[in-house]
């Protein structure tokens, strides 16, 4: 093989490994496992009073491909890869701030995952809303 082809082969063969570690999900996992997940979003006002923000409220403010991840996600629902949501919880929190129309001073987003096999996993993001 030529040097360029050696480098290209090393790149394309190892890209899924890099993708598995990064946030792009480039690994060829081909929907081999399932996960049930739930999104809990809490807003708190300046006085510390907490209120729930429905993920469905966010679904109307995201693009078409992201809508299924949010609509009805306050109840457990099944999908085949929730990485795209997990690694973007801080952005989801910022979106929740915007969707809550100034009611929240801070927002907490919790993603609960229950894999088809394996240990449950909880990921949390908390941000202060800019006014």
């Amino acid at each position: 093989m030529t040097r360029v082809h050696h480098l290209a082969a090393a790149f394309v063969v190892s890209l899924p490994l890099v993708g598995a570690l990064g946030d792009a999900g480039l690994a060829f996992t081909m929907y081999a496992s399932s996960v049930s997940y739930r999104v809990v979003i809490d807003g708190s006002d300046g006085a510390g009073r907490r209120h729930a923000i429905a993920p469905t409220l966010l679904a109307s403010r995201v693009g078409r491909s992201a809508q299924p991840f949010f609509a009805g996600a306050d109840n457990l629902r099944r999908t085949y890869d929730v990485r795209a949501l997990r690694v973007r919880l801080p952005e989801v929190a910022r979106l929740a701030c915007a969707a809550d129309e100034g009611r929240s001073a801070a927002v907490t987003v919790v993603l609960e995952e229950r894999p088809g096999r394996g240990e449950p996993r909880t990921t949390r993001a908390e941000i202060t809303c800019s006014r």
Partner: protein, 282 residues
């Protein structure tokens, strides 16, 4: 078995057609929409900006103008790649612009597009651009080119098998879940949900097939059989799941295994002579 004199350029043309089909509204037209229900293009081209909160890989959100430009450049480059007009550069540009679109829609990520764009880049780096081309590129080496594409295709199956080497898949639970969620065809859903043992057996068959394919595809003596076996596997996927245009993407890439029987293995080097590669054309 079928032998193609110029499998790499044929694969380029085939993948170019699939590229244009999958990234333009052509895929929404009736016969294709029926054949590939999971493959739809929203807007004038795949990756066209849509309203809504922007998400992107690593938070690198691009302005709408840049995304639109990338869509247009990608489509022009894909046409040039198909026609063979400086197809090396065109394929690299088309694949890279494809990844730009993927990067701006992380929730819409599908493995089919990832494989399509990466496969286009891989083919662009080979002799696929030197034949069946209006403006051909210089050759870079037939054996080396074939080896690169073969390694890429084999790695797709290897990674896929690795992902399935876990209890949830091998128990058939994932297949039953896919069936329960309506992601498989009606006959497959009916079979898998009424006969649980069939889901387990199918899961094992798919895993074993994908695990065997890298070896079958990389050994010179078995690679044609491997390509045929892979095609049969994709036909079964189409019957059971219709996974976007993945079958077409892989079929285009599997064409590269139908060349004259030339060793694409390690070259033989002896201290007193130049390196040689063993060709035994049939």
């Amino acid at each position: 078995m079928l032998t193609l004199k110029r499998p790499l350029p044929i694969a380029r043309v085939a993948l170019g057609v699939v590229f244009l089909l999958r990234t333009t509204p052509l895929v929404n037209v009736a016969p294709f929409a029926r054949a590939f229900p999971l493959a739809a293009v929203n807007g004038p081209l795949y990756g066209w900006p849509e309203p809504g909160w922007p998400f992107a890989w690593d938070g690198l959100t691009l302005p709408d103008g840049v995304r639109i430009a990338a869509c247009v450049v990608r489509t022009v480059a894909a046409v040039l790649f198909l026609l063979g007009v400086r197809a090396r550069v065109a394929g690299l540009v088309a694949g890279a612009c494809g990844f730009v679109a993927l990067s701006q829609d992380p929730f819409g990520f599908v493995f089919t597009l990832h494989t399509l764009f990466l496969g286009t880049i891989v083919l662009a780096l080979t002799d696929a651009t030197s034949d069946l081309a209006l403006v051909p590129d210089q050759r870079v080496g037939a054996a080396s080119s074939a080896r690169l594409v073969h390694l890429f295709v084999a790695s797709v199956y290897a990674w896929s098998a690795l992902a399935k080497a876990q209890p949830e898949w091998l128990s058939g639970d994932t297949l039953r879940a896919l069936a329960g969620d309506g992601l498989l065809t009606a006959p497959a859903t009916s079979l898998l949900l009424t006969q649980p043992a069939l889901a387990t057996a199918s899961a094992w068959c798919i895993f074993l097939a994908e695990a065997a394919l890298p070896a079958l595809l990389l050994f010179t003596k078995t690679r044609r059989f491997g390509a045929l076996f892979a095609c049969i596997l994709h036909v079964s996927f189409e019957l059971g799941a219709r996974p976007d245009v993945m079958g077409l993407v892989m079929a285009a890439l599997l064409v590269t295994f139908l060349g004259p029987r030339a060793s694409t293995g390690p070259r033989i080097c002896v201290p007193s002579a130049a390196c040689t590669t063993n060709f035994s054309a049939r």
